[in-house]
């Protein structure tokens, strides 16, 4: 990271004011807000570091200014490069970078809604979090916004992108759907059955988690982080723990690191098996669907046996895990995993030999490599579109450094590739759990954590079942959290979904949607 810092400082001597190294893999550069577009474009295109997160922070208590952070992933050096610019209260605008870096478009809209910082030059500044019912001049994530006061909602007309032409019409779907799923409004512009454009309006379950965490104790925020999204409890709390552990400077015991790998992979296994079942169900292949559901239930039983909670809550603690969940259960665990592997092997064989099934999934919902790169598609959809990137390899954390595993890669970007990635990752997860159990050293599972210093910050980055998961924590006074920025993989992949469905027919949308498996709760926060 020092070499990177040197290079950038040499290139932009006037515009980089300050560099801060935080641990071995985080570099923060304070840059001139006028030149942000130039520097961001250089980092993104010349250095090949994609924008992975972008957020604002109300730092008026510290230096009377707002700060905007642009986070880039330097995958080769396993580092995160963060550019920080200051925005004064009088100004309240930033230069939009989304014309050069398309992935920034959603982040800029989010910042505008929650902080009131206007990105100048943004081509489509529609409200993201609110749906035309939030009054002007109220910005929830500013420190002076009082959550106890009731906000009087207003009613503005909702606007959607209009596609005009002969025979083109709109299909509004949701936010309430026929099945028991989360809310989201989809507006299809179609000509007959083929989809010309899809606009997804989400954030119906915006709960204000980031605001809720501000001022809460760091222990309580762990509790909240487990509840961001039901099926990602473990990975979200792990990312939070990593960030806080880095700030505190505690060394997690090796055994705890292995136990964390076991749970993280168990969560991935259940999530992928559930997806595969859902994909089968969406093409009305009942046999496959119930095979995968049965296997997922077995995986849930393992989770239940290990920690008494199928959704893996209350496993993580700051500095380790709550107790030694694995001891004494190794044999039964390996036995049950082998049972799942045998069944999975058979089912995957039947599935891949089913020509009608393959016909449905092949070339359906193609996410091209170019769009995947532009929008920074992560996780299985990214890996199915030729992005050879997995946080476990590029930013090894916990015991992944010591364990041997492969990441799958497919290039066609269709539903079939996503199915294959998920099947391969299921096998990989089973192997990883077994290897982790066998390689696990004896020892304690938790290190006591001290109180945290105020205004320190760090990233926590994990590979969630859905992809790269980046959390940023800044501590406040008295062991509290000052700012907690959560960026789940779903936030990156939702726009990718909207591109992948173009040109497909309406009845194929549920299948494509299922193959992306995006979380609403994890996106809406």
């Amino acid at each position: 990271m020092r070499a990177l810092n040197k290079k950038l400082v040499e290139l932009f001597p006037k515009d980089i004011y300050n560099s801060i190294f935080n641990g071995s893999n985080e570099l923060y550069l304070e840059v001139n807000s006028r030149e942000i577009l130039k520097i961001c474009t250089y980092v993104d295109t010349e250095l090949g570091c994609p924008l992975v997160s972008m957020f604002a922070n109300d730092e008026r208590q510290l230096h009377h200014k707002f700060a905007v952070y642009y986070v880039f992933a330097d995958k080769n050096r396993s580092g995160l490069l963060t550019l920080k610019t200051m925005v004064s209260e009088e100004e309240m605008t930033i230069q939009s970078i989304c014309n050069e870096i398309p992935a920034a478009a959603l982040y800029e809209r989010e910042i505008k809604d929650l902080f009131g910082i206007i990105p100048k030059g943004h081509p489509a500044l529609k409200e993201l979090i609110f749906h035309g019912n939030w009054p002007e001049g109220k910005y929830p994530l500013r420190k002076d916004f009082d959550t106890r006061k009731k906000v009087h909602m207003i009613n503005k007309k909702k606007e959607f992108v209009e596609v005009k032409g002969e025979g083109v019409y709109e299909i509004p779907v949701g936010p309430v759907h026929a099945g028991i799923i989360e809310p989201g409004h989809f507006r299809f512009s179609v000509a007959g059955e083929p989809i010309l454009h899809l606009e997804a309006q989400l954030h119906y379950v915006h709960k204000g988690i980031e605001k809720m965490c501000e001022g809460e104790s760091i222990e309580k925020c762990l509790y909240i982080s487990e509840r961001i999204s039901g099926d990602e409890s473990f990975t979200n709390s792990l990312a939070y723990c990593q960030a806080v552990e880095k700030i505190v400077g505690v060394n997690v015991p090796t055994r705890a690191k292995y136990i964390r790998v076991v749970f993280a992979e168990l969560e991935r296994l259940t999530s992928h098996l559930g997806d595969l079942g859902g994909i089968c169900l969406d093409v009305a292949y009942g046999f496959g669907a119930f095979q995968f559901r049965a296997m997922r239930a077995w995986a849930y039983l393992i989770a239940d046996e290990l920690c008494g909670m199928r959704f893996l809550r209350s496993v993580n603690r700051l500095g380790g895990v709550r107790k030694d969940f694995i001891v004494g259960k190794e044999k039964s665990l390996i036995e049950q995993l082998n049972k799942i592997r045998t069944e999975l092997k058979d089912t995957a064989g039947i599935l891949k030999a089913h020509s009608l099934f393959i016909d449905r999934v092949e070339n359906t919902g193609v996410l091209s490599a170019g769009i995947a790169a532009d929008l920074n598609a992560v996780g299985p959809p990214g890996r199915a579109s030729g992005r050879h990137y997995d946080v476990r390899k590029s930013y090894p954390y916990e015991a992944y450094t010591d364990l041997d595993f492969d990441i799958s890669e497919h290039n066609n970007g269709d539903v079939n590739c996503r199915v294959n990635v998920k099947i391969e990752e299921c096998f990989e997860s089973i192997d990883l759990i077994i290897n982790a159990i066998e390689a696990m050293p004896e020892g304690k599972v938790r290190e006591k954590t001290d109180s945290v210093e105020p205004h320190r910050f760090a990233f926590g980055i994990t590979e969630a079942p859905r992809g790269e998961n980046i959390h940023w924590v800044m501590t406040g006074e008295d062991n509290t959290v000052f700012r907690y920025k959560i960026r789940t993989p779903s936030f990156c992949n939702w726009p990718a979904l909207c591109h992948a469905v173009k040109g497909n027919i309406v009845p194929d949308f549920p299948l494509i949607n299922k193959s992306f498996n995006l979380s609403y709760a994890g996106n809406d926060l």
Binding site: I171, P172, V173, H177, A178, G179, E193, D282, V283, A284, Y285, G286, F287, A289, F290, Q291, A294, H354, L356, F357, D359, R360, T364, I505, V506, P507, D508, F509, P510
Partner: protein, 318 residues
Amino acid sequence: MQYAAYVLIQLLVIIMLAPLLDGIIRKIKAFSQKRTGIPLLQVYYDLLKLLRKTSVVSEESTWVYKIAPYIVFSTSIAAALLVPVTTKIMPGTLPGDIILLISILGLGRFFTMLAALDTASMFGGMGSSREAMVSILIEPSVLVSLFMVGLISKSTSLPQIMQAMKGIGAPLTYPVFVMIFLAFLIIIIAESSRIPVDDPSTHLELTMVHEAMMLEYSGRHLAIMELGAMIKQLVLITLLVNILIPHDQLIAVTGIGALVVSIFIYVAKVITVTIIIAIAEVCTVKLRFFSIPNLATLSFILLFLGFLQYFILGGSNV
């Protein structure tokens, strides 16, 4: 007198048997998925429960929406009366023939589609347009298959066709009828909205065909609509088994005993075909919507091959 007895037996058998077929298909699917599944008679309980409930009717809808269930039900019943379940009790002549049968079923479908459009809900419109597409694609096969049978038996009246088939004995030993049998199986699957054309158990409103049109219906209206659809499915199966697998010539006993035996054999034949449909449902997945023409083409090609075989190669043997 005989007329009244015929109508009574027809209605009793068809209405009582129709929901059972859905129960059987669901049970077989459940077994393929290692589940016990719902009880065989659950479909009946569901219908009775729905019949007792009030219907919620959209304020935006017109009279079309309200009368559609009754029209769908009555057309199904009318169609059922045209297709005898047994030749053991049958009036000498039945009014109407296969052309009327197809038209009556078409009328029911027309009102289902109108009612779905009437509510102005997005999914109703989508369901209607898809149903129209599927029915247009499958209609030629329906007509050709029935006309071929009519051509061979030199009549379009169903009782006379059935008599002629009885004369042939075992039609399925002739290639032309095997082709018609297979083509008609595809027709039944498409007409009764089953996998691979449609998925009757899906909750995904964007993929639905038949279900999308039913989406707005509730309570009594829904029960009548669903029963109407089940009866239609049974009428088509009856048409298939009673034309291509005639059984009344095998029964030795006479009088009321023959009638009972005949109905039992009929039920057994229907259940066999239902099991074949269920197995087809288990083994296939829902086709991509624009692949449905391929299925319709397959059915038509089968008929065409049968047609060629009959007229060019060995027609006179039949």
